[in-house]
Symmetry: C2
Subunit: 111 residues, 2 copies
């Protein structure tokens, strides 16, 4: 992962609303949630601002959007998430055995 990519992703997460959206999507799993459901869960309005925040998460590579009927479902890009976490912790303590940067979330093995 490039530094610039990580900075963009971290910048996207460094915002109260976007961070909670991200965490909500992480919890939601691979199926994701529609914009309306996201707004409902976070008790905010499904307006232009939410739309903008979701776009930021997608632009940062942390989420993906897919259209289904008249709904748009957003979901976490778990690969990107794990890459970011690995980038942050890479070669921890000079590579000494003190914990490993495992994949924190592997939705492919979810039931």
């Amino acid at each position: 992962m490039e530094s610039k990519t990580a900075v963009t992703a971290l910048g996207a997460l460094a915002h109260a609303t976007r961070l909670e959206i991200f965490r909500l999507l992480v919890r939601a799993g691979a199926a994701g949630l529609s914009v309306g459901k996201i707004a409902e869960a976070l008790v905010i309005e499904a307006n232009g601002r939410l739309s903008f925040h979701l776009k930021e998460l997608v632009a940062a590579g942390l989420a993906v959007a897919r259209q289904e009927g008249r709904f748009i479902y957003y979901s976490t890009d778990y690969t990107a998430m794990n890459e970011l976490l690995r980038y942050l912790t890479e070669d921890c303590c000079g590579g000494q055995p003190c914990g490993e940067a495992v994949d924190l979330c592997q939705p492919e093995i979810c039931p």
Copy 2:
């Protein structure tokens, strides 16, 4: 961890220089590095800006500073780092078994 704390930490990391400082400190382990060594490793100047960035990392709780003689050593707060990573991945996939938010770095068990 509170949302606000996480936003502050992520904001501190969402900057190219600070992110590389953080990663350098993660690699350096609990002993940390002096400001001069950090500047040397990243090929930047040990000036007011570096000082500012280091202060930001400390203010965000991601690093700690300790004075030793005329040097100031900065090191990662691994507990804060792990808390942040856990906050980001909490209850992944609705809590289904798909990877666990283990401590990524445990400097207390480093040689």
